[in-house]
Symmetry: C2
Subunit: 304 residues, 2 copies
Amino acid sequence: MEKFEVYILGCGCAVPTKLHSPSSQIINIREKLSMVDCGEGTQLQMRFHKLRFMNLRNVFISHLHGDHCFGLLGMISTFGLLGRTGDLHVYAPAQYDGLFQQQLQFFCRDLSYRVVFHAVDTTAYQMIYDDRSMSVYTLPLLHGVPCCGYLFREKPVLPHIRRDMIDFYGVPVSQINNIKNGADWVLPDGTIIPNSRLTRPADPPRSYAYCSDTAFYPELIPRLEGVSLLYHEATFTEERAERARMRFHSTARQAAMIAREAHVGQLLIGHYSAHYSDGRQLLEEAREVFPDTLAANEGMVIKV
Amino acid sequence: MEKFEVYILGCGCAVPTKLHSPSSQIINIREKLSMVDCGEGTQLQMRFHKLRFMNLRNVFISHLHGDHCFGLLGMISTFGLLGRTGDLHVYAPAQYDGLFQQQLQFFCRDLSYRVVFHAVDTTAYQMIYDDRSMSVYTLPLLHGVPCCGYLFREKPVLPHIRRDMIDFYGVPVSQINNIKNGADWVLPDGTIIPNSRLTRPADPPRSYAYCSDTAFYPELIPRLEGVSLLYHEATFTEERAERARMRFHSTARQAAMIAREAHVGQLLIGHYSAHYSDGRQLLEEAREVFPDTLAANEGMVIKV
């Protein structure tokens, strides 16, 4: 299977602690790295994960609270000091454009590479990125400030070759690619072997949705229908549901309800309040509603 | 002796590594905390040192390269989230004022406390802070951008009481403070016991100079004459002296020459280039010129 992995660089909330770093993840789809959010210390977390700086192409920022973007300038500076040449694309709420350019101008003059800012409309569900491997969509969230999640959809992959049939009909290696792409095979006597006998259907394309930060927001459900893996913030337990509501955060139970209603494959929770010494209590609460839940932790790599 | 300690939060150079954090130190003088420089991750280093956030009053920024100031906004945000009320004073090169205010306005609105910016003239040697415990002076440095070090001078302390004499003459406890402050003692028969018989001279006031980043800059020497502890950057060894000169950094040998010529009590080196896996090579080079040299390391606490 083609690579599609999520690396947890940070899954704590606003106040960095010894246990958790602020929000950041790397999505590796076919060795192209995308980042979602970039809290303080993210560049160091990349080092701990042994992720190659130069393979990072796109950074998607959900919103402009410091714990989701204060690592950006330091990372951009470091890339420059290390002589990066490839463009780096930064997708962030449109409101950041002016200040971001000023910060770059002040702190990161004479970079060896280009930083391209893409203003994101956090209120619309739309495709903002597309290449041969994946598409990325915005997911409007409810957080009191302009904020959106991001949905990564893998592009359809080719069907599997049936090795036994290829051998049986003596198809040469040079033709495998054509057959993967749908061609039939014609025997020397003119008999046509239809493609469907030579292949097994492709794996269905996988998808990953990152939803942080947000209050309980059922409008998300149709956008998330059937995603393979959903990261949904779970800052509090139900005991603190009122606090969650007032601060535009979710409880673990609410995250699980979204996962259940959207029929996602698996739920990953994070963005734990510093109040919880570990994610266990939050995980238990979520699993009561949606059993296939994981609790994020720095250092974790999840195969989608 | 009154407390006068230096905590090393970060002593690496521009590119953060798994070994070293970017520049930051805490100076504790009589339980009042000052910070010099604030690279990315500094707030976390404070936690590792178990330093109390609320005791930090003043932050002195040497220059506006990211590895000396990218931790500032995150730290200010965190203090706000934790409900700080006391003012925080930030001393930094005047050039930062406009952008700093914009960043505060954008990321740190509705703080629970005041952040007061003090524009520093990095070209002048002058006192910029003074209270009952200490004075702080700027030390112009040579770094290609506006840059100054900071000199912390403890205020004179009171003489030591001679316990044996106090007992001998039967001086009551209520009078000790007067005697510490210079009073003589009069016996019932009218005999005057001069203060000098009741006390031993006070410890000479101590001082700490932070000089980073800078090229070799002998103009510093008279300013540093006799300081108790000098932190001087030592980015490279002599083999890379030319690189040091071009990038406005110093070699370990140059740091030691400054220490020797200024007759400082002790030298502390840091700001190691990522090229050196540990500080040992730099330390050996410095000690050839100035034997009483220490190599800084994160987690270190040095009594001045």
